[in-house]
Amino acid sequence: MSGRQVLMKGNEAIAEGAVAAGCRYFFGYPITPQNEIPEYMSRRLPEVGGVFVQSESEVAAINMVFGASACGVRAMTSSSSPGISLKQEGISYLAGAELPALIVNIQRGGPGLGNISASQGDYFQATKGGGHGDYRMLVYAPSNVQEAYDLVIKAFDKADEYRTPVMVLGDGILGQTMEPLVLRKPKARRFDKGWALTGCEGRAPNVVKSLFMGEGELERMNLLRQKKYDRMRAREVMCEEYMAEDAELAVVAFGTAGRIAKAAVRLARERGIKAGLIRPVTLFPFPDRVVQKAAKTASRFLVVEMNTGQMVEDVRLAVDAARPVGFYGRPGGGVPTPAELLKVFGRELRKI
């Protein structure tokens, strides 16, 4: 299939990307709007000698991922916001036991049952360690189908490289949108998984655990993990900049909101408005330096999110009061249009 262009839904592209990355173990549970991922996997994985298991709950699915990952294979699960909440204990355990895994969250409106419209309400949960304890995970936020496919492939490599759970954070629009997609056969990167539980005949037994009861043991482990997160901060930042160099108004938006903001920036430029876009592709680590660089040229920031204001806190931390940071949000399944954002840009620029 490599090099071929196909038409796919974002959810299907995520599933196919995982197959391309060598993931052969999928554990999932139905929830809208991500059902195409398990449905695709239930058909696709048997074709490539993989295993699809529909669990009895999201809690079971994430722990199946834990079990498979502990054995050294590439495993994943996917869900949508309420289901991701249920998985948080398992994600924390994955982080604690330093197990690689991919968790896909195709966000819907919340809190609670919310609705099934696209939303970005899970930014805090994804980037600040949604489960208990003191951990982070890499979070990728694709804004189109091709990027979703490519980032899923990357996510598996990074999960293995850092021995960490990685999240791909999309939303209902990304999951349901059909777009052309170029399939590829990624170079297989090999990772030494000497820690995996593969049967200890002829070697000392491996131990995979997140329980550290000895005095100072967990503190050491958490400090060690912190170094790992620092390495991610230094090396893994991904960010798209669009007409940001000379922008007076620096717009910051991710995922679907980022895609819409890009169209709005294009409209603004056509009208001579000097807007530019910063679209974080990794939400953790957050592209602080890109934001700080923009603060030198832009007079004002505007953060656009499909929530009531979550990433805006990270932008404000990065800007560190050097410039005013405005916010425009559409929570609970609301999706802004480029024309709507154009008006907001005008309002923001009048404040300069």
């Binding site: 139905p30 059902n35 249920l86």
Partner: protein, 326 residues
């Protein structure tokens, strides 16, 4: 208990009104309306996430003419347990009349009951809250797009157990949830079907008359997921009973009674499978073994429940093979 008369029912007001957005021909609202018609007392409902919950309560509307609560997918039994405990406490505090008889019912589909809700159901049954849990069983996650559940019958084609060349549909037999509930030694557990409204309503009334935790499993055909016509729900629920796929029985304080045994009209399981698109591939050459396996499973289940009946009722023996003429 009063005998249920059609005339009396026709004069009663529906407690689940029309205008809800369940699909045309869905079995679930028929089940709910019949069951609620059988109850005269005030009822408080908890509803698990699912078709019934989503389609009857599209805000700001509700089709329920009674107090109704929804929480998460996996927690209908826990939610009703909390509600029932609160009412019990109000009575103890004399904030409600002690003799005020309020009934508590939790409705959940098979996904929310057999799978993710099993833990909270088991907990509520074991603690013995005074409520009834009703599973409307359509054999898959219909609300999210027909994914397999642990109630999906063997062989069925669903979006996560697709029938293809490598794997011909779901490979496992369904979980016997009614037996699991019986194993909690609750006062009452039963299976029912909307085609036999009298049996369904009498069971509902009997369950409501007993103190403690009750469970009813009611088959609820789904034309979208079963891939049948919109007017097939009653025909298919009747066939489910007459093929012995869905035996009508009850277990009252440990005593098993089969309420209906097909005498001359026991049908082979193929008659229930044939009209359903989800089983289409079972009739392809090479898959005869699946039909045979399905029939064997149905026969085993039926004989097992009849054996329990016969042990409990020496004077009322059922021949499980009677009427099996094919």
């Amino acid at each position: 208990m009063a005998v249920i008369k059609l005339k009396e029912l026709s004069e009663k007001e529906d407690r689940l009104t029309g205008g809800h957005r369940m699909c045309a021909g869905c079995g679930a609202p028929i089940v709910v309306r019949q069951m609620l018609l059988a109850i005269d007392e005030p009822v408080v409902i908890a509803n698990a996430t699912g078709c019934l919950e989503v389609a009857t309560t599209i805000y700001p509307y509700t089709a329920w003419k009674m107090p109704w609560i929804h929480s998460a997918f996996e927690n209908a039994a826990a939610t009703i347990a909390g509600v029932e405990s609160m009412y019990r406490s109000l009575k103890q505090q004399k904030k409600l009349p002690v003799d005020k008889d309020i009934k508590f019912i939790a409705f959940g589909g098979d996904g929310g009951t057999y799978d993710i809700g099993l833990q909270s159901l088991s907990g509520a049954l074991e603690r013995g809250h005074n409520f009834m849990y009703v599973c409307y069983d359509n054999g898959a996650y219909m609300n999210t797009g027909i994914q397999r559940s642990s109630s999906t019958p063997f062989g069925a084609d669903t979006t996560t157990s697709p029938a293809g060349k490598a794997i011909p549909g779901k490979q496992q037999n369904r979980k016997d949830l009614t037996k699991i509930c019986v194993a909690h030694n609750i006062p009452y557990a039963a299976q029912a079907s909307p085609h036999n409204w009298k049996d369904l309503m009498e069971k509902t009334r009997k369950a409501m008359s007993l103190e403690g935790a009750k469970f009813m499993n009611v088959i609820a055909p789904c034309n979208r997921g079963w891939r049948t016509q919109t007017n097939d729900a009653i025909m298919l629920s009747k066939l489910a009973v007459n093929t012995c796929f869905w035996p009508l029985y009850e277990v009252e304080y440990g005593v098993t009674t089969v309420n209906y045994a097909p005498k001359k009209n026991r049908r082979p399981i193929v008659e229930w499978l044939k009209p359903q698109g989800r089983f289409k591939h079972l009739f392809k050459p090479g898959n005869e073994w699946m039909l045979a396996k399905f029939q064997e499973y149905v026969d085993d289940q039926w004989r097992a429940v009849v054996k329990l009946h016969n042990e409990a009722h020496p004077a009322d023996q059922i021949d499980p093979e009677e009427g099996k003429t094919w």
